[in-house]
Symmetry: C2
Subunit: 358 residues, 2 copies
Amino acid sequence: MNRHHYGLILAGGRGTRFWPRSRKRSAKQVLNVVGERSLIQATVERLAPVIPPERLWILTNHHLRDEIVRQLPEIPPSQVLAEPAQRNTAPAIGLAAHILHAADPDAVMGVFPADHVISKPSVYRAVLRAGLKGAAAGHLMVVGIQPRWPETGYGYIEFPRGTAPGGIAPLVVKRFHEKPVLAKARRYLAAGNYYWNSGMFFWRAGVLLDQLRLHLPKTATILAALPPVASTRFASQLAHSFPLCDNISIDYAVLEKASIVRGIAAGDFGWNDVGSWNAVYELLGRDSSGNVLPRDSFVLDAHNNFVDARGKAIALLGVDDLIVVDTSDALLVARRDRAQEVGDIVKALEKANRHDLL
Amino acid sequence: MNRHHYGLILAGGRGTRFWPRSRKRSAKQVLNVVGERSLIQATVERLAPVIPPERLWILTNHHLRDEIVRQLPEIPPSQVLAEPAQRNTAPAIGLAAHILHAADPDAVMGVFPADHVISKPSVYRAVLRAGLKGAAAGHLMVVGIQPRWPETGYGYIEFPRGTAPGGIAPLVVKRFHEKPVLAKARRYLAAGNYYWNSGMFFWRAGVLLDQLRLHLPKTATILAALPPVASTRFASQLAHSFPLCDNISIDYAVLEKASIVRGIAAGDFGWNDVGSWNAVYELLGRDSSGNVLPRDSFVLDAHNNFVDARGKAIALLGVDDLIVVDTSDALLVARRDRAQEVGDIVKALEKANRHDLL
């Protein structure tokens, strides 16, 4: 392990597509939708052999901070920060870079989503080390994952033609592409040099701050003016000035513009962004009828269903391809192929001012 | 009202097709599956203008007796009897006839299922009065209902050709027919003189006892030997001898054999035997998408569903034609056109010794 290697876990999302299990105070990243630990606990554990918890920082929101501190006793609570406002990834990453660079001018940081699943962690850690190495050399490192199907829910990284997966050398990135329509996603898959954008990044904190000054000067100036993180004025100053930052992703603000971007064309490390209940269904082990059910279930001619319910018996009769999620105050029944639209239910709840269910 | 008119409500059924709402101690007849009162409360209220509660007797089982007494404070608790064993309708009706005849040799009794819905009670009460009148004249009176569709779940009463519905004069019954297959049910419907057997009967208690002696002598002898209902020995003697009675329905035991049977060819009094959750769905008012839902529901492109859940919000997404019934310890999700098979789930629970769910 290198003492200049730090990790930033971005944990500010809501994951509304996991309603009714996900709520403002129990968003996707703190839920154990897959396995016995929460997604953020699994993220920290996966990183630990390369970046130990004492060098991890977490950015989240004030609804989730206490729960994250509770779930991760190995991370110093002072390193779990609640953003005063949602300003997308550029200001959040800039803030972490500012803090790390002030404490350690040689800081190299990895940026990790809190809520992804990686089923081959040892393959993954080779990519991690390669990313940190490229970052140390002065690049803005991104990680592409060889696509396994024409996914329309992810952005794509275009590498040079003929790029083979599994290499760990930094490659030139030709272009970033937004989420494609299906026909385009199929062409990407066939072409072979388009990779899923994993949302993981590596860079020197100082290099990222330089790039922010170049491409996002207002935000860079606001962050540079912050007092030291340990000072008593830090929290109040952050609350005042963070909302004034540009509301923009690091991809748009920096990566699509910078010339020092390089990428790793990773092979399959079992990555899944767990985008919906259907992704959970796909990840978990199914029974012989294709169902993913709690232990206490009675099934009559029902297939390919996913049920998440605690402390009660389940009976399914003649139904196929459903998502059923039961909590103490809400019950969702959805078609599995429409699991992406669960977020629209949450929008309807917001519109109806049902704060009790959000 | 005639002081010799009595009612017997048969309330010993389990109604397993209403699981998970129905349990041994909360069977269909004591549930408020349709409207705000339970089915047995509605039955008593419907009878009251013709047969007051103080002249109603109820036969049920020991699981349900306390709940029925609680729900019907207007009926003397001594008139709510738990059968020591399930012996179908002939011994149960014979027992009531024995008790009533001992107290009032002029007793005329109506027999009523506890768990049916009747949406036109004033039309119904005209039939009721006609039944009691025919009974007083010495007939065994049955009630046929003009069929509205080729139902395969009911037995049929065959009247003479050309019988028109809505008359209240006692008609000769040509034959009783068991639940038909669909093709036969269609022929019955087309013929016009086949009526649904409502399961309601009227007769003098003394006449019924005579018929039992003729057609079911063992049971008649057992019942005749019982001590008076008010005596201290009644309960223990009943517990001893009732299980020895023939296990047979009144239809098979008496009605199909007796020559003094007459029937009323009733018109439509909104009768429904509420045979499954789907029948409840059909009975209740649907919204513009064909759904029957609790008030606190959020729907996105979902149609023709029935949901019974208390104290929680419901969200449906893209699903059609489902039955969803949620209780504190069990959740059922079924295809609506397979609601009849809910009883098979209960059989599976019995096989698995899940007494906690029965």
